[in-house]
């Protein structure tokens, strides 16, 4: 019997090693797997490369992971936002390497990784400093940049419902990066608000098929808070 549902945080995060590339879902605090991030803080892996749209706010979650010096590099589109105090401190102090990637390129680099596409051409960032040094090529008279796929060792994502096969649904705009990241990592761990019986999810409404998911942890925390 396939059963991807794990009973403890330790089980959910077992095997994440130092130096791992960790994809973390969410757009701001919505769809962000807060329990798994807290678990990663406890778990102890360090020298991490974190891929996330934002770089955390306040002094909890991703910001706390940064503050503890556990992140070597962060790859994101929008590190600086209201309340991103920790990121700004560690970045200014030279304690974390930053790779800023346009949001759509960030998503597509992970989509490509999950789809077996090693690189792709995109018009985004042509002629800008974020495109500097990248291979450029013309197609039908327009310039494009070559961008490389971005794969993770682990993806930490948040879902709304899950079953024991790892089929997932999402809630409203909390979907965001989560289904993309689920496809792009060697190990995908989902926290889900609801665990349902196999067969209870309408196949027409499953967004992430279980093939992309390795472990599911039940985290019924209620309503998210925008931070």
């Amino acid at each position: 019997m396939i059963n991807k549902i794990v009973q403890s945080m330790a089980e959910a995060l077992a095997g994440i090693g130092d130096g791992a590339v960790v994809l973390i879902g969410g757009f701001g605090s919505i769809g962000q797997p807060n329990a798994l991030i807290d678990g990663l803080i406890e778990q102890g892996a360090k020298e991490l490369t974190v891929v996330s749209n934002n770089a955390g706010t306040g002094r909890v979650g991703l910001a706390r992971l940064l503050e503890l010096g556990r992140v070597r590099k962060i790859i994101c589109s929008y590190p600086r936002s209201a309340g991103s105090v920790v990121f700004e401190d560690v970045y200014r102090a030279g304690k974390v390497e930053l790779e800023v990637v346009p949001q759509g390129t960030l998503a597509e680099r992970m989509r490509a990784a999950g789809a077996g596409i090693p690189a792709f051409y995109t018009p985004t960032a042509v002629g800008t400093k974020l495109g500097a040094g990248k291979e450029e090529r013309d197609f039908a008279g327009r310039a494009y940049l070559l961008e490389q796929a971005l794969a993770g060792d682990v993806a930490l994502i948040e879902a709304w419902e899950a079953d024991r096969w790892g089929n997932l649904t999402y809630r409203s705009s909390a979907r965001n990066f989560n289904p993309v990241m689920a496809t792009a990592a060697k190990l995908t761990v989902a926290q889900a608000q609801h665990i349902v019986e196999l067969g209870a999810l309408d196949p027409e409404k499953i967004v992430t098929p279980g093939i992309f998911v390795d472990r599911v942890l039940h985290v019924p925390y209620g309503e998210p808070v925008v931070t």
């Binding site: 346009p102 949001q103 960032a125 042509v126 800008t128 705009s173 965001n176 967004v207 925008v226």
Partner: protein
């Protein structure tokens, strides 16, 4: 300069947003950037159906919810609570940016630090050694939408023109801006530079040119 004594009144932020909204026809799919652009949605009349996209995976975004009807999982790109209109849908980030990059949006309205008369856009960083630069979706939107309009103040707080010959701030995209709405004027970006379509009442072309770094000409009527 005291603008009232100069014989004209610059548009408020709301009036600038309303002016942009007038030019958005029914049926367009539109992304609105942070700042004045998001205000544009408030000025599109309900009977004129235009579909607003938010790059975090929302197509058919509606106004802010009533305080007792907030969906805590539904935010916009500014991370504010919004609603979904009838017919709206959700998608993940790769699909959201596929529709942006794939040229499916009729229009993207963005704010800017500078727009050059060749259509270059600078709206994400103010210097090359910015601490912690943050680009978000600006470069994808600027490169991907069928047309890019900018709505911004004509001048900086320190009195420098934001309409320039060449951008001095880091570029978001090259040659993409088709029209600029400021608190003083509406201008098209043409192969021959900025063409003034309209000015606020009482403002003269010469006075507008005096406040603008880039050379201007009147658009053909």
């Amino acid at each position: 300069m005291n603008e009232a004594s100069a014989g004209y009144t610059p548009l408020s932020r709301a009036a600038m947003a309303a002016r942009v909204a007038r030019d958005i026809p029914e049926g367009w799919y539109v992304n609105l950037g942070i700042g004045i652009p998001v205000l544009v949605a408030d000025h599109i009349p309900a009977e004129r159906e235009a579909v607003i996209q938010s790059e975090n995976g929302v197509l058919g975004m509606g106004p802010a919810p009533a305080p007792d009807a907030i969906n805590r999982w539904l935010i916009n790109a500014s991370k504010l609570y919004v609603t979904l209109v009838n017919g709206g849908s959700y998608m993940h980030h790769a699909d959201s940016f596929a529709l942006i990059r794939g040229g499916h949006l009729d229009l993207c309205v963005l704010g800017a630090f500078q727009v050059a008369d060749n259509g270059d856009l600078a709206n994400w960083a103010t210097s090359d050694n910015d601490t912690a630069p943050a680009v978000g979706g600006a470069m994808d939107l600027a490169a991907g939408a069928k047309r890019v309009w900018v709505v911004m103040q004509h001048m900086t707080k320190s009195g420098h023109s934001r309409l320039v010959r060449r951008c001095t701030y880091p570029l978001t995209a090259t040659g993409v801006v088709k029209r600029v709405y400021t608190n003083l004027a509406v201008l098209d970006v043409t192969a021959d530079g900025f063409a003034v379509r309209e000015m606020v009442p009482g403002l003269t072309f010469d006075a507008l040119q005096a406040m603008t770094d880039a050379p201007l000409r009147m658009a053909a009527p």
